[in-house]
Amino acid sequence: MRKATFNRRLFTQKIGFGLLTIAAFLTVVPIVLVLLYILWQGAPAISWEFITGFPSDGMRAGGILPAIVGTILLTFGTAIFAVPLGIGAAIYLSEYASENNWTRLIRLAIINLAGIPSVVYGLFGLGLFVLFLRFGTSILAGSLTLAIMTLPVIISTAEEAIRSVPQSFRIVSISVGATRWQTIRRIVLPQALPGILTGVILGLERAAGETAPILFTVAAFFLPRLPNSPLDATMTLPYHLFVISTQVPGMPLKIQYGTALVLLVFVLSMNITATIIRSQARAKRQW
């Protein structure tokens, strides 16, 4: 090989790597900018009163407690419906179902469920839960709607976590006389649990931040009290943010960004929890 060709190739490689490095940096820049900007604009609004107070003066002053509580309740409500159903479906798909047209159909449905725009879930929830089942605009209807939206994420991550448990564990367990269910409950699920939890949290995190599915099913424009039954409507952080950003004239900017900051912290802390669970499980894992 001649030296000139070699140098040219080295040069091309340097340019290539340089471009890739720039691409990597460019993806990080917007995330960092969003975080810094919201922190910078929102931090002045954060106070004890803002977190624990009720909105006043047409939401232009006071706190956002009802929205915070509403979002927490909705997230728990979503979990109550989506987690058992999602994990159950994942166990069925990965451990019991054989590969046939029926399971292919189920998987196809799950994939398509994940692709439906969230506003369509909102309309579906309005039709089924709010109107047909007469739950009204309520935490129950909103939780069910968000649960349906979250299911695909939970099912697919849980299925992946269950499948990643080595097959040899199952064979050994069966060979000492365990039934398939005993094997799943005592060996497979404990090993898959961190992965399942990660998926659950990531799914719920998405639910917590969504606006469209709760728009028609649960969210109240202005309801300055805490809900006292699952059939109550409630304010929520994402919808409150939408309302104060677009519907209320003369809204102080810092309250908008303060609300955004609270939502961001809520969602990011779930994300960080998931990351911690995952890395701790990786460190402890024996396979």
Binding site: F169, I171, I174, V176
Partner: protein
Amino acid sequence: MDKIVIEHLFLNYSDGTESLKDINLRIPANAITALFGPAGGGKSTLLRVINRLNDLADVVFVSGKVSLDGLNVLDPKIDVNALRRRIGMVFARPVVLPLTIRGNLTYGLEIAGERQKAVLDEAVERSLQLAALWDEVKDRLDDPAAALSGGQQQRLCLARSLALQPEVILLDEPTSGLDPISTSKVENALQDLKQNYTIVIVPHSVQQAARIADYAAFFLQGELVEQNVGKLIFTNPQDKRTDDYVTGRFG
């Protein structure tokens, strides 16, 4: 006395990889029976028929008869979990369950419904003694089993099958991944165990078969070519194919 009797056993997997053709074999109690031959001969398949582990595999066809003390093993109506408690199995790669050392040993008993601590503790010590592992692990029974060395893990797997006090132990190339010292520990343990157990082993080499077998059967491409008392099949094989394999002309 014959512990396991296999008559006219035929078996096919759906992908056609390995099959058994008209296997007739009597496995005597309290002895080591070695099933040997080149890869793909059906030895592992036969082991997995005896404890019905093949139920998990893609078997499309089975016919014939396998009996364990007169119990028809292939009968779909038998309690297959109880059958597997009577028949322990050790695999080629040591697979310890993601539990403690103690947890690996008590697992089979616990799922069978045993709750008494005294019974479980006794089973732990007895099975570890039998597998020649007690002295090495008695002070760290609550450590993760995965922390043991490969040779120790394989003896733990042997102990795990012994904890259930089975009647038969199936071993599928149990020493293929082990160093010579660990291998001889396992082989010595098997020699002690055969007083009380029926042992069926797929050895990982002809040499190992010759070392430990009381009875031996030579498998080639799904057929049982020849069976005899261990020493005879290696020193004076009757079939030319056995002779060729034992003397290393193929394999």
